[in-house]
């Protein structure tokens, strides 16, 4: 997938849908400001699964250090969008 085909909003929707499905939390309770650990009770395994989903979906690679820096939904979206140069 290229930056031209992708907007930041697409990535945000993908992240929210993944978290909603995997953590069984209503989509409406997940926004950009949502903190993964504190607000969603996500643990390290949940975060790895999110990272792998993003890697598979967008064909990117996320290092251990980069993964550890993802604390909110916005962090995850910004990371992917930045890596792909997605349009705002």
């Amino acid at each position: 997938m290229t930056a031209d085909e992708l907007s930041r909003a697409d990535v945000l929707e993908k992240v929210r849908e993944h978290l909603s499905s995997e953590l069984e939390i209503p989509l409406g309770q997940i926004s950009e400001e949502t903190r993964l650990r504190e607000d969603l009770d996500a643990d390290s395994l949940d975060l790895y699964e999110l990272v792998m989903e993003l890697e598979d979906t967008y064909g990117i690679s996320v290092s251990e250090e980069e993964a550890a820096g993802i604390e909110t939904v916005a962090d995850a979206v910004d990371f992917v969008a930045g890596r792909l140069g997605a349009a705002a």
Partner: protein
Amino acid sequence: MPVTVALDGRGAERGARAVIDGARAAAANGLRLRVFGDRELLAEIRELDGAELIPAAEEITNADEPVAAVRSRPEASVVQAAADVAEGRSEALVSAGSTGATMTAALFALRRMQGVRRPALALQLPVPGGGRPLLLLDVGANTEARAVDLVQFAYLGSAFSSAVLGVERPRVALLSVGEEQKKGSADVVEANARLADAGGIEFIGNLEGRDLMRREADVVVTDGFTGNVVLKTIEGTAKAVADAVRAAARSGARAAVGGTLLRPALGSLRRQLDPDSTGGAILLGLRGVAVVGHGSSGPDGIANAVRLAARAVEERAVDRTAELLERSGMTRGSMR
């Protein structure tokens, strides 16, 4: 249609010979195998009916950090074998290599079952006197477990015991320091209260460690740290007692006569308690089947691990577990 099992051919403590002979025994039962490992050492696999060798140049060992190794080494045998299951060429994963690497590769490739917070490693423990083994979980997947995890483990273990081991209404107990409902850590007490009010499984309350081998429960639930300590304690104690019996039987002429007379019975007991007889531990709570063989598995252990994995596929263990969790309202979202 015979079940196809992806077998990691690297990392077995007893080497390629144990893998080849184990694969041969499993293939003789009509099972199909895709074996991932060293092209030269495992060359004999190619001669087996129903078995295929897929060269895998890399190995993940106990010395590697599992998460980093699995993520960075896609050519490793266990990673390839797990991917083979995820991509549908095989139906179950078996490895007698590094437990951490196998669990991680399985978890990443097969993913957790919808609604399961933490998968658990379940092991059948042979019980003296023969008959049905005891299912103990978790024996090491999670060093810590919350109350909701222990509750889910109870359902995972019950579903597996019923589907794969054929126990009609498995009696499920929580391992604790007393039988009373309020005995134990905060998580155990909370899990007991939740399970006592829940339906869908036969929860019988707490069980103390000294009663594990008394056939009072079919499934015993604990956190992975405690479960692993219990398992190793049982193994160590059994060996120490066996060594002491052997030493006593050699302590004098009269003892030697008694020892000789007892030898057939003791041999039979040793075979009953042999960890190879149950085929290793199964990782429950995934969207696929993954079995971790005992580290020192011989050919029988590897063959039995493959048979256990195949039985879990044939008996639809994954689907039946998901159905039980859903029906009983024990998915992650329902318990929040």
